[in-house]
Symmetry: C2
Subunit: 487 residues, 2 copies
């Protein structure tokens, strides 16, 4: 332990349990953990620990809660709402060394993995079998299956193949009391008792620390048609999406990029997108080979009917991989435009998509914020990306206010405030606009049932008394190691 | 109110709230509600009420719990595990008058219904649209959508299309405190906060009374191939099921009937099944027309390879409807063989199916119990049906012991004790064999969070202190209006 390490009494105990190489206390190293993918709210943990198995997690939780510190579960920290950050104090329990794929049962299509296994690591390990773990968030090369489950991550193929909760057959988790809870799963459906896997999926780490996941494995689609359609008008692109669904087609993916995003992605990755596009739809159909041309033709007709000015197919596997890689790295490319960006996330009834995209652009304009869109159009899951400079407090505040207005607008359309990124700390203040006091109280009751002392990730996802993060105040200047804005 | 009605003080209050025609108190009429589809454990309620909307449910719950009586939610009472029965006392809140389809949004494919809407009533109401509510339990003409959700009902097309929880986008429910809790849903995925819809689905009425469901609507498959394959050996039929899945095919349904069930169904419905079959597989493939013949051919080859002695296709829609009707009414047909039957329900890893069917038959033989099988083979969800006479206490006890041995055997194979029928009171004693004390405690903690006084359907699904039903004791003689066996 470096001489300068903090001397909180929890630390020697954790070192005794886990060994010195599994306990991070150096303030400089802790900076890596001061935020996740939501750059606006930061805070240093007391320590970060790296247990290797469930029992270590359970024992560590016992130690941390005895010291009355918060336990903050974290996978790879790719979350986008501040859910995996210790604001002020607390010990981050990082699953990044829990990377064992424990069993693979190809006959029954179930893999059991430790929570820290990377999303693509599982699919890579079973590639030979023709099966895969289906959830494919853009972060999938970096994010853990435990994190995918905790945020109920979506992805590009969600439209046809479902979100993470649809692919989690069972979970093991450690409660705030350090108890290990496990449900069993054998296959397609056989949940017994209150559906703990579904409850833990999307609970953003407030109910317990996921330590082990029973993953459903599904056949890798072998045949595809991949295309993109260029539009001079984002409204027309949105209408095409609604029309494809109305025609009874279920593409694996229908993704949309607005003109600015197309240009940024093209500059970064040189895929060959037309840089004068106002909107681009990326569509992939998978399934039985001999049906695909017919389906593709239908999609093409619909896009043309809605005024698509250019439609390109790509049947070459390499080109196809490049196309989706370009899409998945769009968030990275946007970094070329501004120091910081905030990826918003809302869900809308699909029929409201065209109207909403127009109004969201208008809201951005009113706030003077550069705003790009790249999103899961088929799911009605929009991702306006707001560009700003996180070191400029006025821009931070403006970004937060603009985000709020966008999300409130989505609520008025019958939408919700997150599709896949979660609530974290970012959207806490909007929860009362989406849910009645009775429903919020029920959320809290469930939290309290599993974590009576509110020791695990308290103050995320549902409002709590123990953590107040007032994002929308004049920001205080950043001081090294201090949380940026904590009320 | 008839002069002979019980005079529990809750009754006049409920009549004041709901009107006399919505409160059943006549002991003879209450007999209709003394059990559900599990005939072994019976008990009369104090009263049965028929609220018409959520507010009435909430107000009634307030009255019932003030009198310290149990609140027992009930749809159509088609459950198979005693979950909708008041043992000794308690007021049954029956949703059978809550039958309003409140809205249908075809564009976004969501229907909002009151919990008492019958499963088929919703699909019938939208038939013109080409959409349907997918869950299709055999009881679907009688069972309510609220009941389907509360038990997380499966069905014949579950293999491809999923169980009820996969088709519930949002729920409204009344808590034991009489509060109305609601989640919103707009489409494919946008759950925010702990996943209450998933938690309520399959919770068997212990967490609250479902009053309103947001139902996902999906396109009705338009093209089919339906076939049955006859086997001289149930092992070969089971192997065919595993081989079809291993080949990467996902039929809508793969159902199996053993020889005895084939004969009973044939005698009842005269479909034309060969009465010398040892096992029959009913298989349906749905999807894009031009792929179906190819898939069918693959399934046929697999069945032949496993020794199917006769394979019949049926492309005629009327014959197809008759076939599935015969399958769905198999449970009814079995009534010809014995006064009573107990439909067991367990899930198994699909790879263990052949072995398990053999052993289950052997267990039945050891107990001297006539046992038939009709089940969702593709899902690994077995339904051995045990025949007995409910008025013969020795037979009741023998049936219970045989059931227990079957379920314990399924647990040893890595299976679970219910696939779709639930735990109710029937399988309470097996819960500790499936779950650790920590997991069971977590279930109870969640129950207590939503129902601190344990007023709603307590003692079902998870063991509780307030209700002890000792099914496996020498049965006491039945007395009119008394519970058969209550400890």
């Amino acid at each position: 332990m470096p001489a300068s390490a903090p001397t909180h009494p929890v630390i020697p105990e954790l070192i005794r349990l886990l060994g010195p190489d599994a306990v991070l206390t150096d303030p400089q190293e802790l900076r890596v953990y001061e935020c996740d993918g939501f750059p606006i709210a930061k805070g240093l943990p007391t320590a970060v620990i790296f247990p290797r198995d469930t029992v270590q997690v359970a024992q560590a939780v016992g130690i941390i809660t005895r010291h009355n510190l918060q336990v903050i579960p974290r996978g790879s920290g790719t979350g986008l709402a501040g859910g995996a950050v210790a604001y002020g104090s607390g010990v981050i329990v990082c699953t990044s060394r829990m990377t064992r794929i424990e069993s693979i049962d190809l006959d029954n299509r179930v893999a059991v993995v430790q929570a820290g296994v990377l999303n693509t690591a599982l699919s890579d390990a079973i590639l030979h079998s023709g099966l895969r773990f289906s959830p494919d968030p853009s972060s999938q090369r970096a994010s853990t299956i435990g994190g995918n489950a905790a945020t109920n991550a979506g992805g590009i193929n969600t439209l046809k193949h479902g979100v993470t909760t649809n692919h989690v057959l069972g979970v093991e988790f450690v409660t705030a009391q350090g108890e290990i809870v496990q449900t069993r799963a054998t296959g397609l459906y056989d949940g017994v008792g209150p559906d703990l896997p579904a409850l833990l999926c999307g609970s953003e780490g407030i109910l317990g620390i996921l330590t082990r996941i029973w993953c459903r494995l599904v056949p890798i689609p072998r045949h595809f048609r991949t295309m993109y359609a260029v539009f001079n008008d984002s409204q027309a692109a949105c209408r095409s999406v609604a029309d494809v669904i109305a025609a009874g087609l279920v593409p694996a993916s229908m993704e949309m990029m607005d003109g600015q995003m197309v240009r940024v992605v093209e500059e970064a990755f040189h895929y060959g997108f037309p840089t004068d596009a106002q909107a681009l739809l990326l569509i992939e159909i998978d399934g039985v080979e001999r049906t695909l041309d017919g389906q593709l033709q239908q999609v093409v007709s619909i896009c043309k009917h809605n005024g698509a000015c250019d439609i390109q197919h790509c049947s070459d596997p390499t080109r196809r991989a490049e196309l989706w890689s370009a899409r998945k790295r769009a968030f990275g490319a946007i970094g070329r435009l501004a120091r910081s960006y905030c990826t918003q996330d809302a869900c809308l009834p699909r029929s409201a998509l065209a109207k909403a995209i127009k109004e969201i652009t208008e809201i951005g304009r009113r706030f003077g914020i550069t705003l790009s869109n790249v999103f899961h159009a088929g799911d009605g899951n929009v991702h306006p990306i707001l560009l700003f400079d996180e070191d400029n407090p006025d821009e931070v505040q403006n970004t937060l206010r603009c985000s709020e207005e966008i999300l409130e607008y989505c609520i008025t359309l019958g939408g919700t405030i997150t599709g896949e990124h979660g609530v974290g700390v970012e959207k806490l203040h909007l929860m009362p606009k989406l849910f009645s006091p009775q429903t919020l109280r029920t959320f809290t009751d469930i939290k309290t049932a599993l974590d009576p002392g509110h020791h695990i990730n308290d103050g995320k996802l549902i409002p709590s008394d123990t953590l107040h993060i007032e994002l929308m105040q004049p920001a205080t200047p950043r001081s090294p190691g201090g949380a940026m804005v904590i009320g």
